[in-house]
Amino acid sequence: MLNISRISKTFNHGTVNEKRAITDLSLHLAPGDFVTIIGSNGAGKSTLFNAICGDFLTDSGSIILNGEDITFMPAFKRSKHIGRLFQDPMRGSAPGMTIEENLTLAAASGGWLSHVTKADKKRFRERLALLGMGLEERMKQPVGLLSGGQRQALTLMMATFVPPWLLLLDEHTAALDPATAERVLEITRDIVNKDKITTLMVTHNMQQALELGNRTLMMDAGGIVLDVKGEERAKMTVADLLSQFRDRAGKNLDNDRMLLS
Protein backbone atom coordinates (compact mmCIF):
# COMPACT_ATOMS: atom_id res chain seq x y z
CA MET A 1 0.00 0.00 0.00
CA LEU A 2 2.73 2.40 1.04
CA ASN A 3 6.18 2.06 -0.37
CA ILE A 4 8.81 4.43 0.94
CA SER A 5 12.26 3.85 -0.43
CA ARG A 6 15.38 5.48 0.90
CA ILE A 7 14.03 8.94 1.69
CA SER A 8 16.18 11.55 3.44
CA LYS A 9 15.50 15.02 4.69
CA THR A 10 17.91 17.57 6.11
CA PHE A 11 16.64 20.87 7.50
CA ASN A 12 18.67 24.09 7.45
CA HIS A 13 21.19 22.53 5.13
CA GLY A 14 24.67 24.00 5.41
CA THR A 15 24.03 26.08 8.52
CA VAL A 16 24.97 25.53 12.16
CA ASN A 17 21.40 24.47 12.76
CA GLU A 18 21.63 21.68 10.22
CA LYS A 19 19.42 18.79 11.30
CA ARG A 20 19.28 15.46 9.56
CA ALA A 21 15.69 14.61 10.37
CA ILE A 22 15.33 11.49 8.24
CA THR A 23 18.24 9.45 6.96
CA ASP A 24 17.87 6.86 4.24
CA LEU A 25 14.58 5.53 5.54
CA SER A 26 12.70 2.75 3.77
CA LEU A 27 9.34 1.32 4.77
CA HIS A 28 6.92 -1.00 3.09
CA LEU A 29 3.34 -1.40 4.30
CA ALA A 30 1.02 -4.15 3.11
CA PRO A 31 -2.67 -3.30 2.63
CA GLY A 32 -4.48 -3.43 5.97
CA ASP A 33 -1.32 -3.13 8.07
CA PHE A 34 -1.86 -1.39 11.41
CA VAL A 35 1.56 -0.26 12.51
CA THR A 36 2.44 1.39 15.82
CA ILE A 37 5.51 3.60 16.02
CA ILE A 38 7.52 4.48 19.12
CA GLY A 39 10.72 6.39 19.48
CA SER A 40 12.61 8.96 21.49
CA ASN A 41 12.13 12.70 21.22
CA GLY A 42 13.28 13.99 17.85
CA ALA A 43 13.54 10.50 16.38
CA GLY A 44 11.77 11.71 13.26
CA LYS A 45 8.30 10.22 13.81
CA SER A 46 6.37 13.38 13.01
CA THR A 47 8.86 14.30 10.30
CA LEU A 48 8.14 10.97 8.64
CA PHE A 49 4.43 11.78 8.70
CA ASN A 50 5.08 15.26 7.32
CA ALA A 51 7.12 13.73 4.51
CA ILE A 52 4.35 11.26 3.65
CA CYS A 53 1.75 14.05 3.68
CA GLY A 54 3.86 16.39 1.59
CA ASP A 55 4.31 19.20 4.11
CA PHE A 56 7.80 19.36 2.58
CA LEU A 57 9.47 17.55 -0.28
CA THR A 58 12.14 14.98 0.57
CA ASP A 59 15.75 15.54 -0.49
CA SER A 60 16.07 12.07 -2.01
CA GLY A 61 14.19 8.80 -2.35
CA SER A 62 10.64 8.12 -3.43
CA ILE A 63 7.20 7.63 -1.88
CA ILE A 64 4.63 5.48 -3.62
CA LEU A 65 1.09 5.20 -2.28
CA ASN A 66 -1.20 2.54 -3.70
CA GLY A 67 0.83 2.34 -6.87
CA GLU A 68 0.84 6.10 -7.38
CA ASP A 69 4.12 7.99 -7.18
CA ILE A 70 3.40 10.88 -4.79
CA THR A 71 7.00 12.00 -4.24
CA PHE A 72 6.36 15.44 -5.76
CA MET A 73 2.58 15.65 -5.36
CA PRO A 74 1.38 18.78 -3.48
CA ALA A 75 0.03 18.19 0.02
CA PHE A 76 -3.62 18.98 -0.67
CA LYS A 77 -3.74 16.40 -3.47
CA ARG A 78 -2.24 13.70 -1.26
CA SER A 79 -4.76 14.52 1.44
CA LYS A 80 -7.49 13.11 -0.76
CA HIS A 81 -6.18 9.65 0.08
CA ILE A 82 -4.41 10.22 3.39
CA GLY A 83 -6.30 10.83 6.64
CA ARG A 84 -4.32 12.47 9.40
CA LEU A 85 -4.90 13.21 13.07
CA PHE A 86 -2.71 15.37 15.27
CA GLN A 87 -2.18 15.44 19.01
CA ASP A 88 -4.04 18.74 19.22
CA PRO A 89 -7.79 18.00 18.97
CA MET A 90 -8.39 21.59 17.82
CA ARG A 91 -6.49 21.09 14.56
CA GLY A 92 -8.79 18.78 12.73
CA SER A 93 -12.13 20.57 12.57
CA ALA A 94 -13.46 24.09 12.00
CA PRO A 95 -14.80 25.46 15.34
CA GLY A 96 -17.08 28.11 13.85
CA MET A 97 -18.89 25.66 11.61
CA THR A 98 -21.51 23.13 12.68
CA ILE A 99 -20.89 19.40 13.00
CA GLU A 100 -22.99 18.89 9.91
CA GLU A 101 -20.99 21.42 7.89
CA ASN A 102 -17.70 19.88 8.99
CA LEU A 103 -18.91 16.44 7.99
CA THR A 104 -20.17 17.74 4.64
CA LEU A 105 -16.66 18.92 3.87
CA ALA A 106 -15.18 15.60 4.97
CA ALA A 107 -17.68 13.46 3.06
CA ALA A 108 -16.50 15.13 -0.15
CA SER A 109 -19.40 13.76 -2.14
CA GLY A 110 -20.70 15.67 -5.13
CA GLY A 111 -19.17 18.63 -6.93
CA TRP A 112 -17.99 21.96 -5.61
CA LEU A 113 -21.39 23.56 -6.02
CA SER A 114 -23.44 20.73 -4.52
CA HIS A 115 -25.42 21.11 -1.32
CA VAL A 116 -25.76 18.64 1.51
CA THR A 117 -28.67 16.28 0.83
CA LYS A 118 -31.19 14.57 3.10
CA ALA A 119 -29.47 11.25 2.41
CA ASP A 120 -26.13 12.78 3.44
CA LYS A 121 -27.59 14.04 6.71
CA LYS A 122 -29.03 10.62 7.48
CA ARG A 123 -25.65 9.05 6.78
CA PHE A 124 -23.92 11.58 9.06
CA ARG A 125 -26.30 10.81 11.91
CA GLU A 126 -25.83 7.07 11.54
CA ARG A 127 -22.08 7.35 11.53
CA LEU A 128 -22.02 9.79 14.47
CA ALA A 129 -24.25 7.45 16.48
CA LEU A 130 -21.48 4.85 16.26
CA LEU A 131 -19.28 7.12 18.38
CA GLY A 132 -21.73 6.78 21.28
CA MET A 133 -21.19 10.39 22.32
CA GLY A 134 -24.64 11.75 21.44
CA LEU A 135 -23.16 13.97 18.73
CA GLU A 136 -25.88 12.91 16.29
CA GLU A 137 -28.31 15.04 18.31
CA ARG A 138 -26.08 18.12 17.99
CA MET A 139 -25.68 18.35 14.21
CA LYS A 140 -26.51 22.06 14.09
CA GLN A 141 -24.13 23.07 16.88
CA PRO A 142 -20.76 24.65 16.15
CA VAL A 143 -17.86 22.28 16.68
CA GLY A 144 -16.22 24.83 18.97
CA LEU A 145 -18.68 23.80 21.70
CA LEU A 146 -17.43 20.20 21.82
CA SER A 147 -14.91 18.87 24.34
CA GLY A 148 -11.42 17.86 23.25
CA GLY A 149 -12.30 14.17 23.23
CA GLN A 150 -15.49 14.73 21.28
CA ARG A 151 -13.63 16.86 18.77
CA GLN A 152 -10.91 14.27 18.32
CA ALA A 153 -13.51 11.55 17.82
CA LEU A 154 -15.26 13.75 15.28
CA THR A 155 -11.96 14.44 13.52
CA LEU A 156 -11.33 10.72 13.35
CA MET A 157 -14.77 10.22 11.87
CA MET A 158 -14.11 12.99 9.34
CA ALA A 159 -10.71 11.60 8.37
CA THR A 160 -12.15 8.15 7.74
CA PHE A 161 -15.61 9.07 6.46
CA VAL A 162 -14.41 8.12 3.02
CA PRO A 163 -11.95 5.34 3.97
CA PRO A 164 -8.51 6.72 3.09
CA TRP A 165 -5.72 4.63 1.57
CA LEU A 166 -3.59 5.51 4.54
CA LEU A 167 -4.41 6.79 8.02
CA LEU A 168 -1.73 8.61 10.03
CA LEU A 169 -2.31 9.03 13.76
CA ASP A 170 0.23 11.26 15.48
CA GLU A 171 -0.28 10.60 19.22
CA HIS A 172 -3.90 11.50 18.68
CA THR A 173 -4.94 10.54 22.22
CA ALA A 174 -2.03 12.16 24.06
CA ALA A 175 -3.83 15.41 24.90
CA LEU A 176 -6.96 13.69 26.24
CA ASP A 177 -7.75 12.55 29.76
CA PRO A 178 -7.20 8.79 30.32
CA ALA A 179 -10.87 7.73 30.11
CA THR A 180 -11.52 9.77 26.97
CA ALA A 181 -8.24 8.61 25.44
CA GLU A 182 -9.33 5.03 26.02
CA ARG A 183 -12.67 5.68 24.32
CA VAL A 184 -11.09 7.41 21.32
CA LEU A 185 -8.64 4.56 20.99
CA GLU A 186 -11.49 2.06 21.02
CA ILE A 187 -13.22 4.02 18.26
CA THR A 188 -9.96 4.10 16.31
CA ARG A 189 -9.63 0.34 16.57
CA ASP A 190 -13.24 -0.21 15.46
CA ILE A 191 -12.99 2.08 12.44
CA VAL A 192 -9.61 0.79 11.31
CA ASN A 193 -10.70 -2.84 11.67
CA LYS A 194 -14.04 -2.30 9.96
CA ASP A 195 -12.63 -0.70 6.82
CA LYS A 196 -9.25 -2.46 6.95
CA ILE A 197 -7.51 0.91 6.68
CA THR A 198 -3.73 0.83 6.41
CA THR A 199 -2.65 2.78 9.47
CA LEU A 200 0.47 4.23 11.01
CA MET A 201 0.09 5.30 14.63
CA VAL A 202 2.67 7.11 16.73
CA THR A 203 2.18 6.46 20.43
CA HIS A 204 4.10 7.09 23.61
CA ASN A 205 2.39 4.24 25.40
CA MET A 206 4.62 1.16 25.13
CA GLN A 207 1.91 -1.28 26.15
CA GLN A 208 -0.40 0.19 23.55
CA ALA A 209 2.33 -0.07 20.95
CA LEU A 210 2.48 -3.81 21.46
CA GLU A 211 -1.24 -4.45 21.88
CA LEU A 212 -2.66 -2.45 19.02
CA GLY A 213 -2.22 -3.42 15.40
CA ASN A 214 -0.07 -6.09 13.83
CA ARG A 215 3.36 -4.52 13.64
CA THR A 216 5.57 -2.22 15.72
CA LEU A 217 8.35 0.09 14.56
CA MET A 218 10.93 1.83 16.71
CA MET A 219 12.55 4.96 15.38
CA ASP A 220 15.75 6.69 16.36
CA ALA A 221 17.85 9.43 14.76
CA GLY A 222 15.74 9.60 11.63
CA GLY A 223 15.72 5.89 10.88
CA ILE A 224 13.86 2.71 11.78
CA VAL A 225 15.89 0.71 14.28
CA LEU A 226 13.43 -2.06 15.05
CA ASP A 227 10.59 -3.63 13.09
CA VAL A 228 8.69 -6.48 14.75
CA LYS A 229 5.59 -8.36 13.70
CA GLY A 230 3.88 -11.74 13.89
CA GLU A 231 5.05 -14.39 16.35
CA GLU A 232 8.00 -12.38 17.59
CA ARG A 233 5.79 -9.41 18.41
CA ALA A 234 3.13 -11.52 20.10
CA LYS A 235 5.65 -12.78 22.64
CA MET A 236 7.26 -9.43 23.27
CA THR A 237 6.94 -7.52 26.55
CA VAL A 238 7.62 -3.87 27.25
CA ALA A 239 10.90 -4.86 28.91
CA ASP A 240 11.95 -6.78 25.77
CA LEU A 241 11.11 -3.77 23.68
CA LEU A 242 13.23 -1.48 25.83
CA SER A 243 16.23 -3.78 25.85
CA GLN A 244 15.94 -4.28 22.08
CA PHE A 245 15.96 -0.54 21.65
CA ARG A 246 19.06 -0.22 23.84
CA ASP A 247 20.87 -2.87 21.81
CA ARG A 248 20.06 -1.33 18.47
CA ALA A 249 20.18 2.40 19.12
CA GLY A 250 23.06 2.18 21.58
CA LYS A 251 21.22 4.22 24.18
CA ASN A 252 18.19 4.15 26.43
CA LEU A 253 14.83 5.10 25.03
CA ASP A 254 14.38 8.69 26.08
CA ASN A 255 10.97 10.29 25.68
CA ASP A 256 9.61 12.66 28.26
CA ARG A 257 6.08 11.48 27.67
CA MET A 258 6.79 7.77 27.57
CA LEU A 259 4.39 5.52 29.47
CA LEU A 260 5.94 2.19 30.32
CA SER A 261 2.84 0.43 31.50
Binding site: P74, S79, R84, R91, A94, T104, S114
Partner: protein, 313 residues
Protein backbone atom coordinates in the same frame (compact mmCIF):
# COMPACT_ATOMS: atom_id res chain seq x y z
CA UNK B 1 -37.57 67.51 13.44
CA UNK B 2 -40.99 67.05 11.90
CA UNK B 3 -42.40 63.84 10.53
CA UNK B 4 -41.72 64.49 6.85
CA UNK B 5 -38.11 65.42 7.59
CA UNK B 6 -37.75 62.22 9.61
CA UNK B 7 -39.17 60.30 6.69
CA UNK B 8 -36.70 61.95 4.33
CA UNK B 9 -33.85 61.00 6.66
CA UNK B 10 -35.09 57.42 6.74
CA UNK B 11 -35.44 57.37 2.97
CA UNK B 12 -31.85 58.54 2.35
CA UNK B 13 -30.52 56.15 4.96
CA UNK B 14 -32.45 53.30 3.36
CA UNK B 15 -31.15 54.05 -0.13
CA UNK B 16 -27.53 54.57 0.89
CA UNK B 17 -27.72 51.73 3.40
CA UNK B 18 -28.98 49.29 0.79
CA UNK B 19 -26.38 50.29 -1.78
CA UNK B 20 -23.53 50.19 0.74
CA UNK B 21 -24.78 46.95 2.25
CA UNK B 22 -23.52 45.24 -0.91
CA UNK B 23 -20.00 46.24 0.14
CA UNK B 24 -20.78 45.07 3.67
CA UNK B 25 -21.88 41.71 2.26
CA UNK B 26 -18.62 41.58 0.30
CA UNK B 27 -16.69 42.10 3.54
CA UNK B 28 -18.95 39.56 5.23
CA UNK B 29 -17.52 37.04 2.77
CA UNK B 30 -13.89 38.18 2.84
CA UNK B 31 -13.58 39.38 6.46
CA UNK B 32 -16.03 37.23 8.44
CA UNK B 33 -15.79 34.06 6.37
CA UNK B 34 -12.34 34.01 4.79
CA UNK B 35 -10.74 35.98 7.64
CA UNK B 36 -8.94 38.28 5.20
CA UNK B 37 -9.26 42.01 5.81
CA UNK B 38 -9.45 43.19 2.22
CA UNK B 39 -8.09 46.74 2.21
CA UNK B 40 -8.48 47.06 -1.56
CA UNK B 41 -12.19 47.67 -0.92
CA UNK B 42 -11.97 51.47 -1.39
CA UNK B 43 -10.27 51.20 -4.75
CA UNK B 44 -12.46 48.34 -5.88
CA UNK B 45 -15.60 50.30 -4.99
CA UNK B 46 -14.35 53.23 -7.10
CA UNK B 47 -13.38 50.84 -9.88
CA UNK B 48 -16.94 49.51 -9.96
CA UNK B 49 -18.26 53.08 -9.99
CA UNK B 50 -15.91 54.13 -12.79
CA UNK B 51 -16.44 51.09 -15.00
CA UNK B 52 -20.20 51.18 -14.42
CA UNK B 53 -20.36 54.91 -15.23
CA UNK B 54 -18.28 54.58 -18.39
CA UNK B 55 -20.41 51.71 -19.69
CA UNK B 56 -23.64 53.48 -18.75
CA UNK B 57 -22.46 56.74 -20.33
CA UNK B 58 -21.76 54.78 -23.51
CA UNK B 59 -25.45 53.91 -23.57
CA UNK B 60 -25.53 50.44 -21.98
CA UNK B 61 -26.94 50.89 -18.48
CA UNK B 62 -27.85 47.21 -18.09
CA UNK B 63 -24.44 46.06 -19.25
CA UNK B 64 -22.83 48.36 -16.67
CA UNK B 65 -23.78 45.95 -13.87
CA UNK B 66 -21.96 42.82 -15.10
CA UNK B 67 -19.10 45.02 -16.31
CA UNK B 68 -18.60 46.56 -12.87
CA UNK B 69 -18.84 43.15 -11.20
CA UNK B 70 -16.30 41.69 -13.61
CA UNK B 71 -13.94 44.57 -12.89
CA UNK B 72 -14.35 43.76 -9.19
CA UNK B 73 -13.54 40.11 -9.85
CA UNK B 74 -10.31 41.13 -11.63
CA UNK B 75 -9.30 43.36 -8.74
CA UNK B 76 -10.05 40.61 -6.22
CA UNK B 77 -8.13 38.11 -8.31
CA UNK B 78 -5.00 40.27 -8.25
CA UNK B 79 -5.26 40.82 -4.48
CA UNK B 80 -5.70 37.07 -3.99
CA UNK B 81 -2.80 36.12 -6.26
CA UNK B 82 -0.52 38.50 -4.37
CA UNK B 83 -1.29 36.93 -1.01
CA UNK B 84 -1.44 33.29 -2.08
CA UNK B 85 1.13 32.97 -4.85
CA UNK B 86 3.55 35.82 -4.22
CA UNK B 87 3.77 35.52 -0.44
CA UNK B 88 2.71 39.10 0.29
CA UNK B 89 0.96 39.74 3.60
CA UNK B 90 -2.79 39.95 3.07
CA UNK B 91 -3.16 43.47 4.50
CA UNK B 92 -0.29 44.72 2.36
CA UNK B 93 -1.62 43.15 -0.82
CA UNK B 94 -4.89 45.01 -0.24
CA UNK B 95 -3.10 48.31 0.31
CA UNK B 96 -0.87 47.81 -2.74
CA UNK B 97 -3.80 46.95 -5.00
CA UNK B 98 -5.75 49.88 -3.57
CA UNK B 99 -2.94 52.30 -4.44
CA UNK B 100 -2.58 50.89 -7.93
CA UNK B 101 -6.31 51.09 -8.50
CA UNK B 102 -6.21 54.89 -8.14
CA UNK B 103 -4.34 55.15 -11.46
CA UNK B 104 -6.43 52.40 -13.03
CA UNK B 105 -9.62 54.20 -12.07
CA UNK B 106 -8.50 57.49 -13.63
CA UNK B 107 -7.42 55.52 -16.68
CA UNK B 108 -10.90 53.95 -16.89
CA UNK B 109 -12.43 57.43 -16.76
CA UNK B 110 -10.12 58.45 -19.65
CA UNK B 111 -7.85 60.63 -17.58
CA UNK B 112 -10.58 62.58 -15.82
CA UNK B 113 -11.37 62.37 -12.14
CA UNK B 114 -15.10 62.52 -12.69
CA UNK B 115 -17.76 61.23 -15.05
CA UNK B 116 -21.10 62.97 -15.17
CA UNK B 117 -24.16 60.83 -15.81
CA UNK B 118 -26.65 63.70 -15.96
CA UNK B 119 -29.34 63.02 -18.57
CA UNK B 120 -27.74 59.66 -19.30
CA UNK B 121 -29.75 56.46 -18.97
CA UNK B 122 -28.85 54.50 -15.84
CA UNK B 123 -30.40 51.43 -14.23
CA UNK B 124 -32.21 53.87 -11.94
CA UNK B 125 -33.71 55.98 -14.74
CA UNK B 126 -34.77 52.77 -16.42
CA UNK B 127 -36.50 51.66 -13.24
CA UNK B 128 -38.10 55.10 -12.89
CA UNK B 129 -39.59 54.74 -16.35
CA UNK B 130 -40.74 51.26 -15.52
CA UNK B 131 -42.43 52.33 -12.27
CA UNK B 132 -43.85 55.60 -13.66
CA UNK B 133 -47.48 54.56 -13.36
CA UNK B 134 -47.24 52.68 -10.04
CA UNK B 135 -47.42 53.84 -6.43
CA UNK B 136 -43.68 53.10 -6.12
CA UNK B 137 -42.73 55.75 -8.67
CA UNK B 138 -40.68 57.77 -6.21
CA UNK B 139 -39.01 54.73 -4.73
CA UNK B 140 -37.09 53.66 -7.82
CA UNK B 141 -33.67 53.95 -6.13
CA UNK B 142 -34.82 51.84 -3.21
CA UNK B 143 -36.40 49.28 -5.52
CA UNK B 144 -33.25 48.79 -7.62
CA UNK B 145 -30.99 48.67 -4.56
CA UNK B 146 -33.32 46.33 -2.68
CA UNK B 147 -33.48 44.02 -5.67
CA UNK B 148 -29.69 43.87 -5.84
CA UNK B 149 -29.43 43.27 -2.08
CA UNK B 150 -32.05 40.51 -2.03
CA UNK B 151 -30.36 38.72 -4.92
CA UNK B 152 -26.95 39.08 -3.27
CA UNK B 153 -28.17 37.79 0.11
CA UNK B 154 -29.84 34.82 -1.57
CA UNK B 155 -26.75 34.12 -3.63
CA UNK B 156 -24.47 34.26 -0.59
CA UNK B 157 -26.78 32.01 1.43
CA UNK B 158 -26.78 29.42 -1.33
CA UNK B 159 -23.11 29.83 -2.17
CA UNK B 160 -21.77 29.63 1.38
CA UNK B 161 -23.60 26.35 1.92
CA UNK B 162 -22.20 24.63 -1.16
CA UNK B 163 -19.15 22.48 -0.71
CA UNK B 164 -17.03 25.27 -2.17
CA UNK B 165 -18.60 27.78 0.22
CA UNK B 166 -17.98 25.49 3.19
CA UNK B 167 -14.37 25.07 2.06
CA UNK B 168 -13.99 28.87 1.91
CA UNK B 169 -15.42 29.18 5.43
CA UNK B 170 -13.14 26.43 6.72
CA UNK B 171 -10.14 28.23 5.20
CA UNK B 172 -10.95 31.25 7.37
CA UNK B 173 -12.07 29.26 10.40
CA UNK B 174 -9.20 26.80 10.78
CA UNK B 175 -6.26 27.18 8.38
CA UNK B 176 -4.47 24.29 10.12
CA UNK B 177 -7.31 21.95 9.30
CA UNK B 178 -7.44 23.10 5.70
CA UNK B 179 -3.70 22.68 5.26
CA UNK B 180 -3.96 19.00 6.18
CA UNK B 181 -7.14 18.37 4.20
CA UNK B 182 -7.76 18.01 0.50
CA UNK B 183 -8.92 21.63 0.25
CA UNK B 184 -6.47 23.86 -1.59
CA UNK B 185 -6.36 27.11 0.41
CA UNK B 186 -4.96 28.98 -2.61
CA UNK B 187 -8.03 28.07 -4.62
CA UNK B 188 -10.55 28.92 -1.88
CA UNK B 189 -8.88 32.27 -1.14
CA UNK B 190 -8.90 33.23 -4.81
CA UNK B 191 -12.55 32.28 -5.32
CA UNK B 192 -13.59 33.98 -2.08
CA UNK B 193 -11.89 37.28 -2.87
CA UNK B 194 -13.11 37.29 -6.48
CA UNK B 195 -16.73 36.78 -5.44
CA UNK B 196 -16.47 39.32 -2.62
CA UNK B 197 -14.98 41.99 -4.84
CA UNK B 198 -17.63 41.42 -7.49
CA UNK B 199 -20.15 42.70 -4.94
CA UNK B 200 -17.92 45.61 -3.96
CA UNK B 201 -17.79 46.55 -7.64
CA UNK B 202 -21.56 46.23 -7.94
CA UNK B 203 -21.97 48.43 -4.87
CA UNK B 204 -19.78 51.13 -6.40
CA UNK B 205 -21.59 50.91 -9.73
CA UNK B 206 -24.99 51.43 -8.12
CA UNK B 207 -23.68 54.24 -5.92
CA UNK B 208 -22.34 56.17 -8.93
CA UNK B 209 -25.49 55.70 -10.96
CA UNK B 210 -27.77 56.66 -8.08
CA UNK B 211 -25.96 59.97 -7.59
CA UNK B 212 -25.49 60.36 -11.35
CA UNK B 213 -21.75 60.80 -11.24
CA UNK B 214 -18.66 58.78 -10.57
CA UNK B 215 -15.65 60.54 -9.12
CA UNK B 216 -12.29 59.28 -8.03
CA UNK B 217 -12.97 59.65 -4.30
CA UNK B 218 -16.36 57.97 -4.30
CA UNK B 219 -14.96 54.92 -2.51
CA UNK B 220 -12.94 56.87 0.06
CA UNK B 221 -12.82 55.08 3.43
CA UNK B 222 -15.52 52.70 2.23
CA UNK B 223 -13.71 49.89 4.02
CA UNK B 224 -14.08 51.61 7.41
CA UNK B 225 -17.73 52.44 6.81
CA UNK B 226 -18.42 48.90 5.67
CA UNK B 227 -16.54 47.43 8.63
CA UNK B 228 -18.51 49.63 11.02
CA UNK B 229 -21.75 48.41 9.43
CA UNK B 230 -20.53 44.82 9.52
CA UNK B 231 -19.71 45.05 13.21
CA UNK B 232 -23.06 46.68 14.02
CA UNK B 233 -24.74 43.97 11.97
CA UNK B 234 -22.98 41.11 13.71
CA UNK B 235 -23.82 42.62 17.10
CA UNK B 236 -27.48 42.74 16.07
CA UNK B 237 -27.67 39.34 14.38
CA UNK B 238 -24.32 37.65 14.72
CA UNK B 239 -25.59 34.22 15.71
CA UNK B 240 -27.48 31.80 13.56
CA UNK B 241 -27.25 30.54 10.04
CA UNK B 242 -25.71 32.31 7.07
CA UNK B 243 -29.00 33.83 5.93
CA UNK B 244 -29.70 35.43 9.32
CA UNK B 245 -26.19 36.79 9.51
CA UNK B 246 -26.32 38.17 5.95
CA UNK B 247 -29.61 39.91 6.74
CA UNK B 248 -27.88 41.28 9.83
CA UNK B 249 -25.23 42.81 7.56
CA UNK B 250 -27.89 44.69 5.57
CA UNK B 251 -29.51 45.82 8.81
CA UNK B 252 -26.11 46.99 10.08
CA UNK B 253 -25.54 49.08 6.97
CA UNK B 254 -28.98 50.65 7.39
CA UNK B 255 -28.50 51.41 11.09
CA UNK B 256 -25.12 52.97 10.40
CA UNK B 257 -26.56 55.20 7.69
CA UNK B 258 -29.52 56.11 9.87
CA UNK B 259 -27.31 57.19 12.77
CA UNK B 260 -25.19 59.17 10.36
CA UNK B 261 -28.18 60.81 8.66
CA UNK B 262 -29.69 61.81 12.01
CA UNK B 263 -26.37 63.25 13.11
CA UNK B 264 -26.28 65.34 9.93
CA UNK B 265 -29.81 66.56 10.63
CA UNK B 266 -28.68 67.61 14.09
CA UNK B 267 -26.13 69.86 12.38
CA UNK B 268 -23.13 67.63 12.65
CA UNK B 269 -20.85 68.76 9.82
CA UNK B 270 -20.47 66.23 6.97
CA UNK B 271 -16.73 65.97 7.42
CA UNK B 272 -17.32 64.29 10.78
CA UNK B 273 -18.52 61.09 9.08
CA UNK B 274 -15.06 59.60 8.92
CA UNK B 275 -14.33 60.25 12.59
CA UNK B 276 -17.68 58.77 13.56
CA UNK B 277 -17.05 55.62 11.51
CA UNK B 278 -13.52 55.29 12.89
CA UNK B 279 -14.80 55.53 16.45
CA UNK B 280 -17.54 52.98 15.79
CA UNK B 281 -15.08 50.52 14.23
CA UNK B 282 -12.50 51.01 16.97
CA UNK B 283 -15.09 50.57 19.71
CA UNK B 284 -16.71 47.55 18.09
CA UNK B 285 -13.34 45.87 17.56
CA UNK B 286 -12.17 46.66 21.09
CA UNK B 287 -15.34 45.59 22.89
CA UNK B 288 -14.74 41.81 22.86
CA UNK B 289 -11.23 42.38 24.22
CA UNK B 290 -12.42 44.76 26.92
CA UNK B 291 -15.19 42.33 27.83
CA UNK B 292 -12.51 39.67 28.33
CA UNK B 293 -10.44 41.98 30.49
CA UNK B 294 -13.35 43.23 32.57
CA UNK B 295 -13.20 40.56 35.33
CA UNK B 296 -9.54 41.36 35.93
CA UNK B 297 -10.18 45.10 35.98
CA UNK B 298 -13.14 44.81 38.33
CA UNK B 299 -11.20 42.48 40.63
CA UNK B 300 -8.33 44.98 40.71
CA UNK B 301 -10.71 47.78 41.62
CA UNK B 302 -12.39 45.84 44.41
CA UNK B 303 -9.01 44.62 45.61
CA UNK B 304 -7.77 48.20 45.86
CA UNK B 305 -10.92 49.23 47.68
CA UNK B 306 -10.51 46.41 50.18
CA UNK B 307 -6.84 47.27 50.65
CA UNK B 308 -7.76 50.90 51.32
CA UNK B 309 -10.37 49.69 53.85
CA UNK B 310 -7.75 47.61 55.68
CA UNK B 311 -5.37 50.55 55.90
CA UNK B 312 -8.01 52.71 57.53
CA UNK B 313 -8.50 50.11 60.23
Amino acid sequence: MNLSALFAVGQTALELGLICSLTVLALFLSYSMLNVCDLSTDGCFTLGAAVGAVVAAAGHPLLSIPAAMLAGVCSGFITAIMQTKLGINSLLSGIIVNTGLYSVNIMVMSGKSQINLNKKATVFTMMRGFLAETPLKNQYVTVVAALAVVLTVLFLTLFLNTRLGLAIRATGDNPDMVRSSSINPVFTTIVGLCVANAFTGLSGCLMAQSQQSAEINIGGSMVTIALASLLIGSTLMGKGNIFTRAVGMVLGAFVFRLVYAIALRLNMPAFMLKLVSSVIVALALALPYLKDQWPVISRRLSYKKAAAGREVK
